[in-house]
């Protein structure tokens, strides 16, 4: 059996606060004497160094010249390497396409605007810190684990009818030959793998391609697809999966093609070229399945209000306030307990602080965790990278006065 380290962030911060106070053992007089003595020594040294300066007038120009030569020596190989990179990048077209996709994901990560690659986020952060010290440019790192939306469909009873509803769970998936080496390949894997329950309906899916200009994705199938024969629940599952998975990326539409031709019959819809998505979203809500599992769903897909009456999308603070209540006829719940109120929600750049009102409380740890997760998801529809939770209720749940959470993004082209 493997033993696990017991360190978590709460414990670390609590232990840091327990590091002992360290006092100077000297008396005030002793410190004063030492300071006086040092001042006197310094004055003597200063007088000495003034004499020395006259003799070494040549030193500064000599150092400057040496530094200039060294700088040239450092910069030249790096410049030559960059040139080589550009040449190899412009190789075969097919290769370039795959490389570009990977680089695009990474670039988004490094800008801190989108975070589809979990492990890269930390590495990029470290590089950023290293760059602070060295003044060097950040170097693109290869992605290994990508956060992908995994669809899950449940039979949901709402308004006296039972219908399939699709939710997505964001999970890290390791890049490999089997799962794919680009985001597009990984999405084909997610939709067609037996592991995730949509293999039958997406049979024959051969490629997924993104079009940044149109904020669209094209799903290309082989002739052996089952799209035409989809009916009833299967059709609804296929439709819901496409809408939920690709809306998560902030896309506006999905185009369906067979071997590149836009001639697809999509179940009872008949001839269909594209499916409109719901890229704009504000807020996440909670559904508890019969087996006790809980799923988050986007406010946009269940018709919750996502903006004001002039169609301006809610701010982050407004979104959290909206998330506290759901439509009266809803089959899902708010992830924010009634016993919780927000004292203040402040956004500063990519950082949001959510302060809970002093009398807020949580029934248990799970209730607290669900609220934090829902707010993290809601934050991913904004250019936020970190959320800080504050308040007495937070302290009670975490044994710490603040809780920091990183926001994981899927949106591609914002």
């Amino acid at each position: 059996m493997t033993r696990k380290s017991s360190w978590d962030e709460k414990k670390i911060t609590s232990h840091l606060q327990q590091l002992p106070p360290v006092k100077d053992r000297r008396s005030k007089e002793e410190v004063f004497q030492a300071v006086q003595q040092k001042l006197e020594e310094r004055e003597t040294e200063d007088r000495g160094s003034l004499v020395g300066k006259k003799k070494s007038g040549w030193l500064l120009p000599a150092i400057a010249s040496t530094a200039a030569v060294l700088l040239l020596l450092i910069l030249l190989p790096s410049f030559l390497n960059n040139q080589q990179h550009l040449t190899s990048d412009s190789g075969g077209e097919q290769e370039a396409s795959m490389e570009n996709r990977t680089n695009e994901v990474n670039i988004l990560m490094e800008d801190g605007e989108a975070g589809a690659v979990e492990e890269d986020a930390d590495e990029a952060a470290d590089n950023e810190e290293a760059a602070d010290h060295s003044g060097e440019m950040n170097v693109t790192v290869q992605a290994e684990t990508v956060l992908v939306p995994i669809p899950h469909t449940e039979q949901v009873e709402a308004a006296a009818t039972v219908n399939p509803r699709t939710f997505v769970k964001r999970e890290p998936l390791e890049m490999s030959e089997e799962t794919g080496e680009t985001l597009e390949e990984m999405l084909v894997y997610v939709l067609t793998s037996d592991q995730f329950g949509t293999a039958d309906i997406f049979q024959g899916l051969q490629t997924v391609a993104f079009d940044e200009g149109d904020k669209a994705a094209t799903l290309d199938f082989t002739e052996e697809n089952r799209l035409e024969s989809l009916a009833g629940d299967e059709y609804q599952q296929a439709y819901g999966t496409i809408v939920e998975v690709f809306s998560s990326y902030g896309l506006e539409e999905v185009r369906l093609t067979v071997n590149g031709e836009a001639d697809v019959t999509f179940g009872p819809e008949g001839q269909l070229e594209k499916i409109e998505l719901l890229p704009d979203n504000r807020g996440y809500y909670l559904y508890k399945a019969a087996d006790g599992n809980r799923y988050f769903l986007r406010g946009a897909v269940v018709g919750e209000q996502i903006g004001d009456h002039s169609d301006t999308l809610f701010t982050f603070a407004e979104t959290l306030e909206k998330m506290r209540s759901v439509r009266p006829d809803a089959w899902y719940d708010s992830a924010i307990p009634e016993s919780v109120e927000f004292a203040e929600v402040v956004v500063d750049g990519d950082y949001a602080t959510v302060e809970l009102a002093p009398d807020s409380s949580f029934a248990d740890d799970e209730q607290f965790r669900l609220m934090v997760s829902a707010i993290q998801l809601a934050a991913s529809d904004f250019p936020l990278n970190y959320i800080e939770f504050e308040g007495a209720a937070v302290e009670q749940m975490t044994m710490n006065d603040v809780l920091y959470e990183q926001v994981e993004h899927l949106r591609l082209f914002d």
Partner: protein
């Protein structure tokens, strides 16, 4: 005894000493450096413009004194060893071979472990951890001392805790491996 010195000593001495101690991890060096802080502060007190509070100004002087010393040691060490070390390799520095300070030695193992692992964080991460968790400065005071935005303090703090966790887990794995071998 100078009035100004006496006032500064009474108000800030132990706080500044502790800050320098956790930065350089050596009592004798912290004693030297805190004197250096007084010299700088007493020399330049008239130039203190009151843009920040006196407390954060003193901290920022102490920070510069501490960092200058650390960097001078790193340069010496590099020269001595004749090769280039990265900042993250500070665990190889001379002062880190000294025994654990008495105050830390009497603490439970996990606290000692935190103290030992802290030195593996980057310079910025250590600064934020010391100021926020040991000196108990607010985000805004820490930002003032370091000359950063509050947002940068928060981000670095978050990353620092994550880094610390990673280092602690790595040393745990290493120790488990050693035991099993």
């Amino acid at each position: 005894m100078g009035e100004e010195f006496e006032r500064l000593y009474e108000t800030y001495h132990h706080t500044l000493f502790q800050y320098l101690f956790y930065m350089v991890r050596n009592r004798e060096i912290a004693e030297e450096l805190v004197q250096e802080v007084y010299i700088k502060v007493l020399h330049s007190y008239q130039s203190f413009q009151g843009k920040s509070s006196e407390k954060t100004w003193l901290y920022s002087v102490a920070k510069h004194v501490g960092i200058d010393w650390i960097r001078s040691q790193t340069r010496k060490k590099r020269k001595w060893e004749g090769k280039q070390f990265e900042w993250s390799e500070r665990e190889f520095e001379i002062q880190d071979h000294s025994p654990l300070p008495e105050e830390i030695l009497v603490q439970k193992d996990e606290i000692q472990q935190i103290y030992q692992t802290l030195k593996m964080c980057t310079e910025d991460q250590q600064q934020v951890i010391i100021l926020r968790y040991i000196q108990m400065l607010s985000i805004s005071e820490t930002a003032d001392v370091l000359g950063w935005t509050e947002s940068k303090v928060k981000t670095t703090q978050h990353r620092a805790i994550k880094a610390l966790k990673q280092h602690l887990e790595n040393s745990y794995k290493y120790s488990v491996k050693e035991v099993s071998e």
